[in-house]
């Protein structure tokens, strides 16, 4: 087991190094280099040259790359062009909002997707199955920004059930301990803050949940169907085990393996999906910040955020692999 983990961790190293090279190249080399992005177009050649010198762009590439790595290792991802603040700081202040959004989307997707997928498999060929499969296909095919917009028009604008924008009501009095509104509210006992934060999470959470929900429904269904076909389930049924026992001990447990994997990885990809959802709901998280960074050509922010998100994604992968191998000994053997 330990060997397996060590091997997986070692395999990460080239991936992360490669990722950093990719981003390094992107930051330093693309259209004309940062001196074109940073300086106005009518800047003089001397201005460009002096900026290149001050950014160390006249040094050999390897030296530049090593100093880039050193800065990353020190947590220095550069400074945002738009706000003039460190990229890491920008990320950390916005991370809690997007984290809460991603978690609520995942809670919705799992809470609805698992039972729905399971039921669809058990009642294969019924209207329920058809609706679940069809619905999830339509879900995957609907542009997220349009779904988000419709949710907002119906539930916020017309029915007024939920807020249409922001993460917390403006002017809400709260104790900010960690940036995580819900957690802080729970810790300090400010229940109005918890309720307010949750109300703001419902609509963007639903919109963001659409893709993972569809994926979970289909994976659960496929996986349960596959397990139901397995000999050991038939054996268990045949030997007269109670249906519920068969379901929980044999079917669900085995069918959950790939679904759990998917859930872990979908959580990582939600950070990217948040770009669309957050910009529809003016939700002040990582996604809307990336959106405005693309609008403002804020290269340091784009590079830094992508590096962080990709690294997080790679590590989630690692965790999924490890937990997976704990659950399924066959993976280790390979």
């Amino acid at each position: 087991m330990l060997r397996f983990i060590v091997r997986r961790v070692l395999q990460l190293i080239p991936t992360l190094v490669g990722l950093s090279i990719l981003l390094f190249v992107w930051l330093q080399r693309l259209p004309g280099g940062p001196e074109y992005a940073l300086l106005p177009d009518d800047a003089t050649d001397e201005q460009r040259a002096s900026l290149r010198r001050s950014l160390g762009l006249d040094e050999p590439l390897t030296v530049q790359y090593l100093s880039f790595l050193r800065r990353i290792a020190q947590g220095d991802l550069g400074t945002s062009i738009a706000s003039g603040r460190p990229v890491l700081e920008e990320f950390l202040t916005r991370f809690p909002a997007t984290f809460e959004l991603a978690v609520s989307a995942m809670v919705i997707a799992v809470a609805v997707g698992l039972p729905l997928g399971y039921l669809a498999a058990r009642r294969r060929g019924t209207v329920l199955d058809f609706a679940a499969v069809g619905g999830s296909l339509v879900g995957i095919c609907t542009p997220v920004f349009f779904l988000a917009f419709i949710l907002k028009v119906v539930f916020a604008e017309r029915l007024g059930l939920f807020p249409s924008a922001f993460r917390l009501s403006p002017g809400l009095d709260r104790t900010n301990l960690s940036g995580f509104a819900v957690l802080d509210g729970l810790r300090t006992g400010e229940w109005d803050v918890v309720a307010d934060a949750l109300a703001h999470l419902v609509l963007p959470g639903l919109a963001l949940a659409s893709i993972p929900l569809a994926v979970i429904v289909r994976m659960t269904r496929a996986s349960v169907l596959e397990v139901l076909e397995e000999d050991y389930v038939r054996t268990a049924d045949a030997k007269g085990l109670h249906r519920n026992t068969v379901r929980t001990r044999h079917v669900m447990r085995n069918a959950m393996l790939p679904v759990v994997t998917a859930i872990g990885l979908l959580t990582g990809s939600l950070f990217a999906g948040a770009v669309l959802t957050e910009s529809v709901f003016a939700f002040p998280g990582i996604g809307s910040f990336i959106y405005s960074a693309t609008q403002e050509r804020d290269y340091p922010v784009l590079t830094g955020f992508i590096l962080i998100i990709a690294t997080v994604y790679v590590f989630i992968n690692l965790l999924v692999d490890i937990s997976y191998s704990l659950l399924d000994p066959r993976v280790r053997a390979q």
Binding site: L38, I81, L116, P163, P170, A195, D196, A199, L206, P284
Partner: protein
């Protein structure tokens, strides 16, 4: 069908999750509790963008000024709801014969938020600080208005910066500062009302004296005092309590010792919602109590739903610029005239701009003195346009045409649609249009440096003087338009330097005729932008210069 069946259980199940239920129930109750007569409820206003600095001197950005006008005050200002220059912190002022000495008589008993008293010394401390700034502060990004009003600094660190027009600020007595400049320009007295020159308290100036702007051109790190509330103090009706950057929220608190009428709201919050439709929806959903840059189509439905949507007076102009260096065909007057005849500006006004908009015949609205009734107009006549193009030998003209992709401006709702109409009109007379978009942050530098042969841009006046419009563009060679006409430039300088008001206005009229003969661009429209408020708000008097004073507003 499928869609419905899949969403319904989804919505039901989600609602069944206790999470959502608790949330709804509680959210409802807080809302009910929040409405009504409670005057301590914060007033929430949504702008299209977030502020960029707490010190307005460091920017030229309108969203920042909306905040800073509530917190800092200037020597002069515009009358509430109008465009006349009146006393601000100075009750009264006079200028010397030649317009180089400006004497201000300050109000008595004005206090800064931190308790400092406003006196001539405090005023001069501000002006001297600006004049003596060094390093990153001297970048035109960080001192745009200082450079356009006062030229350069005590010691210019870059030879591109013009010589300083500022000579000194002396305290004649306790409440009488005298500001001396090298030569008169019509930029005064309007320049003293610019939000960028909001006065900060002497203690603030002392505290921030050693804070520098670090970094390189285009990648500046602004000083801490301009990013974290707590240091800056002005004299305005509101104090700035907090700037929560991760929520994009600025919290303003009523200043109880304000010299004038205290603010109607105890707390005012400024939030950013970039999307126009999202702002309207937030108002309708009750998340905010007001917003700016209302889409023309939203005005009626909002009013029908009980919201207040006051319209500002017209004080802007939208134009299509011809950059004559970016495409040499545009250097031919006949081509410029032909394009002008090709565009159906009336249709843009009728179908896209808000009610009350008008086709612009010259580069500033008719509400300003100096507007000329005699300019050459270029009526919509596609046949004539086609003929003129043929005459100029430009039947196969291809032109790049730029428009901003991500914003609306007070003078330009729906840039895409306006572009689309003009471009279709141009294609109808045989011009091939190549559309180019840039994000706003990119659009300004690119159009300013002359990359786009045709582009849409406009201007909302800073103060009530025609020169604030035409002088911005045509006072000398300008890469936005890319032409040299020494006769025009000389006439502009002469008019602007004339301290006699009547003579100056007559000169402006002559200039407008001259400009429309040269036709450096096609003025399209002047239109009145709207601003929206919730039903239970007494809105402030709306300002044609978009300089609303929110201390006038209150809960009903």
């Amino acid at each position: 069908m499928l869609r419905k069946s899949s969403r319904k259980p989804l919505a039901l199940l989600a609602a069944a999750t206790s999470l959502a239920l608790v949330a709804t129930a509680c959210a409802e109750s807080t809302r009910e509790g929040g409405d009504g007569a409670d005057s301590s409820e914060p007033f929430v206003f949504a702008a299209a963008g977030s502020i960029s600095t707490l010190d307005p001197f460091l920017t030229s950005d309108g969203e920042t000024y909306r905040y800073s006008r509530q917190v800092f005050e200037t020597l002069l200002r515009h009358e509430s709801g109008g465009s006349e220059i009146v006393g601000g912190l100075a009750e009264d002022w006079e200028q010397s014969e030649d317009g180089t000495e400006w004497t201000f008589h300050l109000r008595e008993n004005v206090q800064f938020h931190d308790g400092d008293a406003l006196n001539a010394e405090a005023v001069c401390a501000n002006f001297d600080r600006w004049h003596n700034l060094t390093g990153g502060y001297q970048s035109s990004n960080n001192s745009y208005y200082w450079q356009s009003v006062f030229g350069g600094f005590a010691e210019n660190e870059d030879e591109d910066i013009p010589d300083s027009r500022y000579v000194s600020c002396e305290a004649q007595d306790e409440l009488t500062p005298v500001i001396t400049i090298t030569e008169y320009s019509s930029i005064f007295p309007g320049g003293f009302s610019l939000a960028a020159f909001g006065l900060m308290s002497p203690s603030t100036l002392e505290a921030i004296a050693d804070q520098e702007i670090t970094g390189e051109e285009g990648n500046y790190t602004l000083p801490e005092y301009s990013q974290v509330a707590g240091t800056v103090a002005g004299t305005g009706p509101f104090t700035v309590e907090e700037w929560d950057q991760d929520q994009d929220e600025v919290t303003l608190q009523r200043f109880e010792d304000y010299w004038g009428e205290p603010a109607g709201f105890e707390t005012m919050l400024l939030r950013a919602i970039p999307d126009e439709t999202a702002r309207r929806q937030a108002l309708e959903a009750g998340d905010i109590h007001g917003y700016d840059l209302v889409a023309p189509a939203d005005v009626e439905p909002l009013e029908a739903a009980g919201f207040q949507v006051p319209t500002r007076d017209v004080f802007n102009v939208l134009y299509m610029a011809y950059q004559q260096e970016a495409n040499e065909a545009l250097a031919d007057l006949e081509v410029r005239q032909a394009l002008a005849h090709a565009v159906d500006r009336q249709r843009i006004v009728d179908t896209i701009l808000p009610a009350g908009g008008e086709v612009a015949t010259q580069f500033h609205p008719d509400t300003l003195d100096g507007w000329s009734p005699d300019v050459q107009t270029y009526d919509y006549d596609p046949d004539l346009a086609e003929e003129m193009l043929a005459d100029a030998g430009q039947e196969d003209l291809t032109l790049e045409f730029c428009y901003p992709s991500d914003v609306t401006r007070p003078y330009m709702p729906a840039p895409r649609d306006i572009f689309d109409v003009i471009s279709a009109d141009l294609e109808a007379v045989g011009v091939t249009v190549e559309p180019v978009t840039y994000e706003w942050a990119d659009y300004i530098p690119r159009t300013n440096s002359g990359e786009c042969p045709l582009y849409l841009l406009g201007w909302t006046g800073d103060y009530n003087d025609a020169y604030n419009f035409i002088g911005t563009w045509f006072s000398g060679y300008n890469s936005e338009f890319g032409f040299r006409d020494e006769d025009l430039f000389e006439a502009m300088a002469e008019a602007s330097g004339n301290p006699d008001d009547a003579e100056r206005v007559a000169a402006y009229q002559e200039l407008n005729n001259q400009i429309m003969d040269i036709l450096p661009g096609l003025p399209i429209s002047s239109s009145p932008p709207s601003i929206a408020f919730a039903e239970n708000v007494n809105p402030p008097a709306v300002s044609p210069l978009t300089q609303e004073n929110f201390s006038e507003a209150s809960w009903k």
